[in-house]
Symmetry: C2
Subunit: 206 residues, 2 copies
């Protein structure tokens, strides 16, 4: 049986994407805690041995080491029937997965980081710039979800698992009350949360 080890930390929504995929698949996995705040991923030895991109998550499965949450999710989608993509879904899922990496997660995560964890605290102008970028991405997704139950069609795919990476973190961290400000996104968050195995990030990665 495959043993899954997930190098992660609980504040990392990119880690949460993969943990949530494993949890909803009902697959057992082991957590390897990464001391991100103490600079573990910036150490040259970690970059050489674990991930040259300096990022979590890293998923170890049968001796293979996978990185980039989007690539890991696509790999899981090839290995598990519940997440397997139909021919007609594949290109739409890829498109939203890339949009997530480029604009949605990218901006939500950076803005949250700056407001909540960055030291020294960022300049006000930087916060305003990143907030405006985040709003633009949220608006596009909220509009899309006003006419679609999930990101692609009527069922959960890896596009959803990628895009929910940061949305369940506390509003104070995100700087948005997503359910109140973006009803399309809020309704989708509720639908995804009904998936058996779902837990919010600070519980799942605790």
């Amino acid at each position: 049986m495959t043993t899954y080890k997930l190098h992660c930390f609980k504040e990392s929504g990119n880690s949460y994407k993969v943990a949530l995929a494993l949890a909803t698949l009902g697959v057992a996995w082991e957590k390897v805690n990464v001391d991100y705040f103490d600079g573990q991923t910036r150490q040259p030895s970690w970059r050489v041995q674990t991930n040259e991109m300096g990022e979590v998550p890293v998923l170890e499965a049968d001796g293979r080491r996978l990185t980039q949450s989007g690539a890991i999710l696509l790999d899981l989608a090839e290995r598990f029937d519940a997440l397997r993509l139909a021919e007609g879904e594949r290109s739409e899922v890829l498109r939203w997965l890339l949009f997530d990496n480029h604009k949605f997660t990218a901006n939500i995560a950076s803005y949250r980081w700056l407001r909540t964890f960055a030291k020294p605290a960022p300049h006000e102008a930087v916060l305003a710039y990143m907030r405006q970028r985040t709003v633009a991405a949220l608006e596009i997704v909220d509009r899309h979800l006003s006419t679609s139950r999930f990101i692609v069609g009527d069922r959960l795919t890896v596009a959803d698992l990628s895009m929910v990476g940061y949305v369940y973190y506390p509003s104070e961290e995100l700087g948005f009350d997503l359910r109140a400000e973006y009803p399309g996104i809020g309704a989708w968050m509720d639908r995804v949360a009904e998936t058996p195995g779902w837990k919010p990030p600070y519980q799942l990665l605790a």
Copy 2:
């Protein structure tokens, strides 16, 4: 024969990625100029009819309309032998394509945009923040290319076509003299530029 129409504008490195793929494949394509600077992609009608994500490029091929440069490149890789991915290349190519969308193109393009095109001019603190993010991404790729001829292995793949999206724009626009400051990236730029059909962005999208 398939007719390719590329909705693009010459300052868009994401458009260049797709144009360069078509050019190196030796495929004929037609340019549909998008008046980005005048707000065409922000108009509700363009969003509804052309791309809800509000982005270029958009590639029309046989009545299908594809968006997101990474998804378009992966689609072309399935349709043309010269770009077809071997089983062993696929996951590495995906990983770098996602990294490109998340960190490499994402930061290079935003920083260039802010320094070169943004009106009103951004606050100094915003420029400094985006420069630092760009440097972090450039360093990771420069280190990777110090031991690899192309992004994945010894031949051009869609990972290269994605990651060169912005690197050939003029140094004054980018804010970096990439060849002088990042020799690994510089040597790779020269190797990619040897591909038959290659042209720099302002020539290819002129």
